[in-house]
């Protein structure tokens, strides 16, 4: 580890998973992750170094632990992290530090089994590893008499490393894993106010995709509360996405045109086709190479295989559908986990019933629908949608 003045800083050890397995590209991923973490910590002073597949993150003492923990829990690429205490090589200091550490996660509930694992690089230190483990085990049991010792398969571990100083830390709090956002390039997420699209965005961000979000607003057919809901969803997703830009297209004229110039059972398909066209144009303007949607096979009429084939045909760039094979309940579980569910279920619809056909086509033919689309002659309206698209920056914290 490089020499740095860390006297007024606290230390977090960050475990890297998939990134540490990368070959020649490892440096690229690590650099992305380092930048993502430091960007979120700004303006708090921080230093981040790497050693043996771990990051050592020093953060100014003035930065609250809760903020650091939130950042690490919402930064893809972090598999786990522990707060570490660095103390002088004295038994009293070690015991005091251990007592402070076990007041927090994962020891805070005082339940289950544990072990103390010691590594002594400095062989001159007066206590041997086994002695350190026994004595610190006593500290834990004094505080949590209901905990039990389990050396082979403990629920929690208190680690001690004796080097030029003594480093103490606990078994890691889970991070989200995945790859650092931006390591995979840029995409455009079609974000509605529903449950699915935020989850789709989250899953692609987990694979390193940086995304702008695109919402189609049709006031007065959809309410401003529906738009606010989408802004709130983008805000909740902001930390996961490393910040984003919410792009809002005024889609009212397009919807009305579709209603007037297509058969009722085709309305939804034509609307999806127009959305794809607009998304393609915006993706091009914003250098996004893929479109991401929350579609899941067979969930609604516009998500049958035939409908998806038609929608796909309207896009010049790949459309990624990370939820394609997921059940609704699985999607809901993730939505709850990432905190978007409660907002998604607010009763502000993102599509007005007036544009929803009673009996939508479920098995459209691509060629026939393409002819219907072309017959609408809607390009001019869609170009205007793209031109007048509004932007709302969403922060990463």
């Amino acid at each position: 580890m490089e020499k740095i003045d860390t006297s007024d800083m606290k230390l977090f050890l960050i475990r890297l998973g998939e990134i540490s397995l990368k070959g020649l590209n490892r440096g690229f991923f690590e650099k992305k992750l380092k930048n993502n973490i430091k960007l979120k910590l700004h303006p708090c002073r921080s230093l981040l170094t790497r050693e043996k597949g771990r990051f050592y993150l020093y953060v100014d003492n003035s930065c609250p632990d809760s903020k650091i923990e939130f950042i690490l829990k919402t930064t893809f690429g972090v598999v786990g992290f522990s707060k570490a205490l660095v103390v002088d090589k004295k038994w009293e200091c070690m015991a005091e530090a251990a007592a402070a550490l076990i007041e927090k996660e994962p020891f805070a509930d005082g339940k289950g089994s544990f072990r103390v694992q010691s590594r002594r690089s400095d062989k001159n230190f007066e206590m041997r590893s086994i002695q350190i483990e026994q004595q610190l085990g006593g500290v834990v049991l004094d505080r949590y008499p209901n905990m039990t010792v389990n050396l082979k398969n403990p629920d929690k571990t208190l680690y001690v490393e004796v080097r030029e100083k003594v480093y103490l830390y606990t078994s890691p709090v889970s991070g989200p894993g995945g790859l650092p956002v931006s390591s995979a390039g840029k995409g455009l997420l079609l974000l509605s106010g529903g449950i699915d699209s935020p989850v789709a965005g989250w899953r692609m961000a987990k694979r390193g995709l940086n995304m702008d979000c695109l919402y189609f607003h049709a006031y007065p057919y959809t309410s401003d509360q529906a738009l606010q809901k989408v802004k709130d969803l983008a805000t909740i997703m902001g930390p996961w996405l490393q910040g984003t830009t919410l792009l809002v297209v005024n889609f009212t004229q397009a919807e009305l045109w579709i209603k007037e110039h297509s058969r009722e059972e085709e309305h939804t398909l034509m609307m999806r086709a127009c959305m794809m066209k607009v998304a393609n144009a915006i993706a091009k303007k914003r250098s996004a190479r893929v479109i991401v949607t929350g579609e899941a096979l067979g969930q609604v009429a516009s998500q049958t295989l035939e409908s998806l084939c038609f929608t796909n045909s309207m896009s010049e760039i790949p459309v990624l559908r990370p939820l394609i094979g997921m059940d609704k309940n699985e999607i809901i579980d993730t939505a709850r986990e990432i905190g978007t569910y409660e907002t998604s279920i607010l009763p502000y619809d993102d599509c007005c019933v007036i544009f929803s056909p009673k009996h939508p086509l479920v098995k459209p033919e691509v060629e026939e629908q393409t002819r219907s689309y072309e017959k609408m002659d809607i390009e001019g309206i869609l170009e205007k949608c793209v031109e007048e698209c509004a932007e709302y920056p969403v922060n990463y914290i």
């Binding site: 006031y219 007065p220 057919y221 309410s223 009763p347 007005c352 019933v353 007036i354």
Partner: protein, 385 residues
């Protein structure tokens, strides 16, 4: 903003506000306290009760102050749960949620809840006759429907129920949700033969969180007894300033009830003419129909536009209206259910706009409203030229 949503709630009148402040300052004691300030507060409370009761033409000892119409309805309906054995209760199908939503609670306790048909918003008296049977313990009939303003023929309904009781010797409690009646039309629950009736203060320009229950049978029991306030029927320290303000508001309405009614009727007629002009369908009775309705409520259909879309634009233009019943606009389908029970077709239910009027609206306000209704419908590409 021009306000046409008086059925949802009405702004507190200036006289009621003055009274609220005066009573807050001059009567700081708890009416249950035995010291001088408490006794003074108790006297004020009983004075309010007498004044309120005199407007209803009932005995003050039968009037209990509550937190609103919902609580008053719930006290009566949920009192049934104190019966040792469950029976049956009849609700008109168009009751407010304050009554209807008791269905699940009652059914969980073994009660049978039967809805009575109300085609066009009026109780089908034959359906009532058929539904009466020895297990029926209570019938709930609202006076003025909050969605369409239809006025129920409660006189005939009460007569049918009483005749049935005489024949069978089994007394049936008749409860009336009169929230949209009080302060707007003549309503005297005792004279009409009810056993209990619920009222809400904020519907006639009293403060929110106030209401009253008139009840002449002791079979009704408290939801919360607490310190035995309101003769043990509604525990909790009385909100004296709000009760006094509500009483003042009611007196104001009652003193000019006929003048207000006639004026609002002319306003309603104007809106009706406008509706016909635009091609809207009336979901409330028309003034010329010869049937009984409250002029304070007029519901129209702006088919094919969904009501929420139309309301959004009207709101942007400065008009406060609501879709069906405002109390349940957040719970999808509730107002729609009431309209469905009235036999109104699906397309009109989805497009239902409720315009509710007050004597505080001016003719000029209504003219502006009519113009906005017409313009808005046109802007969407509908309506007559």
């Amino acid at each position: 903003m021009l306000y046409f949503d008086w059925t949802s709630t009405s702004p507190v009148s200036s006289q009621a506000l003055v009274e609220y402040c005066r009573v807050s300052e001059c009567y700081p004691g708890n009416p249950s306290s035995t010291h001088a300030l408490g006794i003074k507060a108790k006297e004020m409370l009983e004075d309010c009760r007498k004044r309120f009761a005199s407007i209803l033409k009932v005995s003050p000892s039968e009037l209990y102050f509550t937190s609103g119409g919902t609580e008053a309805d719930s006290i009566v309906v949920q009192s049934l749960l104190n019966n040792p054995s469950p029976g049956e209760v009849l609700f008109t199908a168009v009751e407010h949620a304050a009554v209807l939503e008791n269905k699940a609670v009652l059914e969980n306790h073994g009660w049978k809840v039967t809805f009575l048909n109300c085609p066009g918003g009026y109780l089908d008296l034959d359906a009532l006759k058929k539904a009466l049977n020895p297990s029926v313990r209570m019938v709930c009939i609202m006076k003025v429907n909050n969605v369409t303003g239809t006025i129920m023929d409660t006189e005939s309904a009460v007569r049918i129920i009483r005749e049935y009781s005489e024949k069978t010797g089994k007394y049936i409690h008749i409860h009336c949700d009169a929230v949209q009646a009080l302060g707007k039309i003549e309503f005297h629950p005792s004279t009409e033969g009810f056993d209990s009736a619920a009222f809400s203060g904020h519907k006639f320009s009293g403060p929110r969180g106030t209401g009253a229950l008139w009840c002449r049978r002791t079979a009704v029991q408290a939801l919360s007894r607490a310190g035995g306030q309101e003769s043990g029927l509604r525990g909790g320290t009385e909100n004296l300033p709000a009760i006094a303000a509500m009483t003042t508001a009611l007196e104001n309405c009652a003193s000019e009830l006929v003048q207000h009614y006639d004026f609002v009727k002319t306003l309603r007629k104007k809106v009706e003419i406008c509706a016909a002009d635009c091609g809207f369908t009336l979901l409330s009775p028309s003034s010329d129909s010869g049937i009984s309705f409250s002029p304070y409520i007029l519901t129209i259909s702006v088919r094919p536009l969904p009501s929420e879309v139309f309301l959004r634009v009207m709101s942007d233009k400065g008009f406060c209206l609501s879709a069906g019943s405002a109390c349940s606009a957040n719970t999808r389908g509730k107002a729609e259910k009431v309209l469905q029970a009235m036999g109104i077709r699906s397309e009109d239910r989805m497009s239902a706009i409720r315009i509710s009027l007050s004597y505080m609206n001016t003719e000029e306000d209504v003219e502006k409203l009519c113009k906005a209704l017409k313009d808005t419908y046109k802007e969407f590409g509908y309506g007559k030229n």
